[in-house]
């Protein structure tokens, strides 16, 4: 990964530079027009966020039951990225909603589930920060619960919501939109892989620093 990191970073940067041209070239959606183009960033960030949430949940389970410190480092990196991509989703969603439906916030099942998930992983980060010594284990428990909670949140919000916007965008993409859309998804996932690698690496370095501090006292 270390050897690949720099070339992949260049690739990711190139893809993000190319993305606006591809999005510009994609056909206009018949009813929403220009507004629909935010989807090329909004949906890939949401996908990345959900991937990140599951990475955090699974590595937390590995950490809790196998005691692998590396899994915990991956979990904390994933939790932070869940929070970051969640912010992108929660900002771009309302921007689109304002133009499409005239309101900033709609209680659509996807955006609401995203909000709940975002809260859970911020709770994870708060627990690690303010819970004191040993809180990484407790946070791992929360992440497992948070992951198991996703289908329940999605289903309950889906039945509960009163407004029914059609959000089945991905399957009904027009042919000319598919290329740029999946291009953006790839770019976001690549960015995610790079970011989580860098962040987990930073955490590993920090762990090494702790060991050095301890060994100095010998």
């Amino acid at each position: 990964m270390r050897k690949l990191f720099l070339p992949l970073t260049v690739v990711a940067a190139g893809m993000f530079m190319m993305a606006p041209f591809l999005i510009d070239g994609a056909p206009y959606e018949s009813t929403m027009g220009l507004v629909q183009k935010i989807f090329y960033f909004h949906v890939p960030s949401a996908m990345t966020m959900f991937v990140s949430a599951f990475v955090c949940g699974i590595s937390s389970a590995v950490f809790l039951f196998k005691g692998r410190a590396a899994a915990d480092r991956l979990a904390v990196a994933a939790a932070e990225l869940t929070s970051v991509f969640g912010i992108i989703v929660l900002v771009t969603g309302p921007l689109w909603a304002r133009k499409a439906w005239g309101v900033w916030w709609v209680w659509d099942e996807r955006i609401t589930s995203t909000f709940v998930l975002w809260l859970i992983f911020n709770a994870y980060l708060l627990l690690r920060k303010y819970g004191g010594a040993g809180s990484e284990r407790l946070a791992a428990g929360l992440a497992i619960f948070g992951m198991a909670n996703v289908p329940f949140v999605y289903w309950s919000v889906n039945v509960w919501r009163t407004l029914h916007p059609k959000t089945t965008v991905v399957p009904t993409l027009q042919p000319g939109m598919r290329g740029p859309f999946w291009f953006c998804v790839t770019a976001f996932l690549l960015l995610y892989v790079l970011a989580i690698t860098a962040r987990a690496h930073l955490e590993a370095e920090r762990a090494r620093l702790e060991e050095i501090y301890l060994s100095i006292e010998e």
Binding site: Y130, G131, G141, G146, A148, N149, W155, W160
Partner: protein, 226 residues
């Protein structure tokens, strides 16, 4: 030492302590009543309650007072480090979780016996037209809330800022329970009672309870050992 017997001993001990001091029951009960009253000022307009306010108020009161009861129940085990004594006892540790959960459920049941009629009365809500469905909703919802809450409160015993972290952790996870409770209760309150809808929510609550109790039993021991 069988699992069930260990859990039973813990419940009996908690009931005995609570019967003696009644601290958690009284404080939680009055807190729940105060909650309902505070909501009344927000949701009663010109002497008439807003339609559909009752289910929300009922479930938020349950969630808030439940959080308080959970915090107090484990503060009691923390004060003289009795939780450590339980942890070194030669019993299956998940049995301790089951015992504490059962104690919390008994307590919340008593709170609900008071606040459900109170909400029905104050907010003109015909809550008792389908008593069995209502009881099923309350049982399913309270169990789900307490199942997650008992695990979180137990594991937070050795964390700093535990008072504020408990709701921060617990509320996002239990959002499906709150939605199911509120919408299920609202379905019962309609002029034309929506039984299939109430049943759907009850099924979801049962599924939620099963999934999260299994998860809690599975994670209790690794979460409680440092």
């Amino acid at each position: 030492m069988s699992f069930v017997r260990a859990a039973w001993l813990v419940v009996r001990k908690d009931v005995l302590i609570e019967a003696r001091s009644r601290e958690i029951l009284y404080t939680t009960l009055f807190f729940a009543v105060a909650c309902v009253l505070v909501f009344a000022f927000g949701f009663v307009n010109e002497g008439r309650p807003i339609t559909d306010a009752a289910p929300g108020i009922l479930w938020i009161a349950i969630a808030f007072s439940g959080t308080l009861a959970l915090g107090r129940a484990f503060e009691r085990e923390r004060q003289h480090e009795t939780l450590r004594a339980l942890m070194i006892a030669p019993v299956d540790r998940p049995a301790l979780y089951v015992g504490k959960l059962a104690g919390i459920l008994l307590l919340l049941a008593m709170v609900e016996v008071v606040i459900v009629p109170l909400v029905a009365l104050l907010f003109h809500a015909p809550l008792f037209t389908r008593p069995l469905l209502l009881v099923a909703l309350l049982a399913g919802g309270t169990t789900g809330f307490a199942a997650v809450g008992t695990l979180f409160a137990a594991m937070l015993v050795r964390a700093r800022s535990r008072d504020v972290l408990l709701p921060v952790l617990l509320y996002p996870i239990t959002i499906p329970v709150i939605i199911a409770g509120v919408r299920g209760t609202a379905a019962l309150l309609q002029a034309d009672v929506d039984v299939p809808m109430a049943r759907a929510w009850i099924s979801m609550l049962v599924l939620f309870d099963v999934v999260f109790i299994v998860l809690a039993l599975w994670t209790f021991e690794p979460l409680m050992t440092e």
